[in-house]
């Protein structure tokens, strides 16, 4: 039974990454916590990953509000090419 609960660092960090989006299952989080007992590196990864999530959140807030538009030159160029095609 315990054999099934053992995971590699690759799998552990994958669970940690999914957890950042609240997408990991309870069982996988249990496996991750068991993995932590013997792996300080993955504990560090997890700590830093949470920090990065916080930074990306801030970045996301500043990016999501941006409205991207085409410049009037781009639109004119597009109209020209489009006229040739039509």
């Amino acid at each position: 039974m315990f054999k099934n609960l053992r995971i590699t660092c690759d799998e552990a960090t994958m669970i940690c990454d999914k957890s950042q989006y609240r997408a990991s299952s309870l069982l996988s989080r249990l496996k991750l916590n068991i993995h932590f007992i013997g792996c300080k590196t993955c504990i560090l990864y997890t700590k830093q990953n949470v920090k990065l999530t916080h930074l990306y959140k801030g970045y996301s807030h500043s990016c999501k509000g941006e409205k991207h538009t085409l410049s009037s030159e781009d639109k004119e160029a597009l109209k020209k090419t489009f006229k040739l095609k039509s």
Partner: protein, 188 residues
């Protein structure tokens, strides 16, 4: 016939929909020139199949459905073409210690974080440049999931990938981003 006439009013098409479509494309592909190309290709494709427009949806919805197709095509292209030559950094042993950290890639403790985590333009620039350094398909999926905060199902549908595929990409992107931020922000 009447519908065709409306569709072929090209000047109106660009004035009415180009910005919306460009915005739609750029939040997904994050490259201004590529987004412009996709918008242009969509208009051309729309023009070519204008007679197929039945008027069941609005012009904008119809054009967006063509643009969506173009985005999937682009994703497939980068997925297959760069698939083999992809510059992907491995973090885990694939030999004897399969799945364990490679010694030289093990996460390091970070320097003074409180001083470094002030949200400023410099930090934004660094986050952006680290995302830009990822293989294109990782960057695309990561941005859609983390920056634009799209639902997993939505991304899978839009890019025609499975959710396990998406999580592998997110996992690889994040391990690479952590290392990039460590080298260029926290411990530089």
């Amino acid at each position: 016939m009447a519908e065709e006439k409306i569709l072929l009013n090209t000047d109106k098409w660009i004035d009415n929909y180009a910005d919306y479509m460009y915005n739609y494309a750029i939040v997904r592909v994050s490259d201004s020139d590529l987004a412009k190309d996709l918008v242009q290709d969509t208009f051309f494709a729309g023009l070519k199949s204008a007679k197929n427009f039945l008027g069941k949806s609005t012009e904008r919805t119809w054009l967006i459905s063509i643009l969506k197709r173009k985005i999937i095509d682009h994703y497939r292209k980068i997925n297959s073409k760069k698939g083999q030559a992809e510059v992907r950094m491995n973090f885990y042993d694939d030999g004897e210690n399969e799945g364990n950290w490679l010694e030289e890639r093990v996460p390091q403790s970070w320097g003074n974080q409180s001083e470094k985590s002030i949200e400023n333009d410099e930090l934004k620039k660094q986050l952006s440049s680290c995302i830009g350094a990822l293989p294109e398909k990782y960057a695309m999926v990561f941005r859609m999931k983390t920056i634009q905060e799209f639902e997993t199902e939505e991304i899978c549908k839009e890019l025609d990938i499975t959710s396990s595929n998406l999580w592998v990409i997110i996992h690889r992107a994040r391990t690479q981003l952590r290392k990039c931020m460590e080298d260029n922000w926290f411990n530089n």
